[in-house]
Symmetry: D3
Subunit: 135 residues, 6 copies
């Protein structure tokens, strides 16, 4: 169980309820997940985090499904089980198939393998890759 209490809608003040209402409206659901209920212990933190997530995950140069899969990839790299499950569910809701999930994991696994070998052997960066190929 969480190290701070989860704040339910009925026990929440107006600032917290306002965020909960926005979350449910944007998602077309009638419930709010535990992450937000934990943040609600600090209403300013809840508001700030919600505003940021909304802005970052909105359609832009990258589409929402790609963003959701990137979120899963980072969560795997950090080993955050809650995040892996919740964002895998969100990616499925946006169209990710089982085969896409399998390939996502294959890339995450391969990147992890080569990351560690490069680091372990202290391979120096090629001139052509400097600045991420920006030059």
């Amino acid at each position: 169980m969480a190290t701070l209490p989860l704040i339910e809608y009925d026990d929440a003040g107006p600032e917290v309820r306002a965020v909960y209402d926005e979350i449910m409206e944007l998602r077309g659901t009638d419930w709010v997940n535990n992450f937000w209920k934990a943040l609600a212990n600090d209403p300013k933190m809840l508001r700030r985090t919600w505003e940021s997530v909304k802005e970052v995950m909105a359609p832009g140069a990258l589409d929402p499904l790609t963003k959701e899969m990137l979120y899963v990839a980072v969560s795997v790299a950090h080993g955050c089980n809650y995040c892996i499950n919740s964002h895998t569910a969100a990616a499925r809701a946006k169209g990710m198939t089982d085969q896409m999930l399998a390939e996502l994991m294959a890339v995450v696994g391969m990147a992890s393998e080569t990351n560690k070998i490069v680091t372990g052997l202290q391979v120096e960066l090629d001139e052509a890759f400097k600045d991420g190929g920006r030059n």
Copy 2:
């Protein structure tokens, strides 16, 4: 500098040259980057890793640019500078713009923030997210 010598084409045996030739052909380049030159100290490791990367990064349910961006995301999470630079360069070559890179980083950053808060508060997984929403 690397903790194993980098094996140049001229100093390589036939097994290593065969892989180098395939890399250059597939990429349409006349050079091989340092990662492969470090692996070439163990020709079997070079061959196995190249076969795996080729298979994983091939077009499938996910397109090659999405895979490249996932690779970057994982490399950032692991803090592998070589990998960040080389795969950012690869993603650019496949069409990633500056704005796409900025949004990619925004997602990586936001995922990192919420990952840590969820973990730090030990938030329990919602029933609806169990199995990544597979149920």
Copy 3:
């Protein structure tokens, strides 16, 4: 369950009991937590670790509550659930309030976000920050 047996007081030899006694005395408790019971499989490792923890966590230039919160922050970054819970409990016992815990997590989250963006964009260090501002 642990991958090594947990050594209970009644089953422990004199070296282990001596450490257990010190732990209980310093903490004013009549029980020892599982971490120490796992270490007790190797009495020298138990003794060494206990001596180090005692010395590191003692009041010094930093007060014990600040040290406990730093311990929590590192444990979150590493995703160690046992450590997060046990040191959050220890920090509460030393005066950490819910609001302090919420702010602690906000800092951990924000640091994680900016850490990853800086790394992902490979931002070069400003001259003024070289040596951690020691110059």
Copy 4:
């Protein structure tokens, strides 16, 4: 060098300049560090991140120096060299002495050691630590 260009004040549009002006004013400096110049490639990301950092690092239940040291601890755990140097410099500016820095690192090191042993031995959480001692 960074994988996105660093935007200098003279080349920046009004949205970016407005944030740069606020940063310099709040800090009483006449320059802006590279992190913000990299973010400025996406003016909304710059604005959002600056607002968040300002709010999170403001005095609250935790004082600014404690927050800065927590920031350093997380940055060390993530191995972000830019972040370690810039926040160590910021912590020094807020009063951190060499002895405090040494003790900060001793705690970070000790936490890392015990985190890994607990994880490696898969030690189960004691009843008394459930919920971070909230019960």
Copy 5:
């Protein structure tokens, strides 16, 4: 539960069964562990991963027990509970004693501690250690 279904032998196609048969034969067991059943959602990923694991873990310049303990050490560093348990079990099956496990954890813990202190203090590499002492 897993975010992809676990494929049982009776529900598997011939490509998957062929790998399962090889795993059971090489290990002298009549069952296959869940990791492979999850990979089997993508038969090519299953085949590729099995071939790689078999080759990497085979006796070579390092003996199989040393390789298994290295696997445990990496799994601890990444906080992968499944991996810690399964490879600790595999190491035990290859001769690792309780005392060896305790020393393995002592090294992992000590390495974690000094890793973080070195990183936190941004200690510069000594000339004699350049290239991992290859020079």
Copy 6:
């Protein structure tokens, strides 16, 4: 450069010199590496860390070369460049060949890949692996 000054022998007090003397004697060298010179800012931390390293790395149920390679593996997982280089050099001094280093990296890479796939797919632990096969 380091965020704390490196304490040279000539500038050190008697407690620090005593540790430096022990390090040089045990290693049969006439110099001390930078890690210890950074720790020397806090003589108690220097003494404690040296005593611990000496005890942990001494021959026991695991031989010193195996311990050194485990140290390298953990350092790779954490991305600590100083540690990778210094412990690779130490492992070479104890007999590690280029082929052993290549296999070490192959195991570290493979472990990283499978760690992430297991975590990403949230594979549940098999009954037979509970408690690391201790049962």
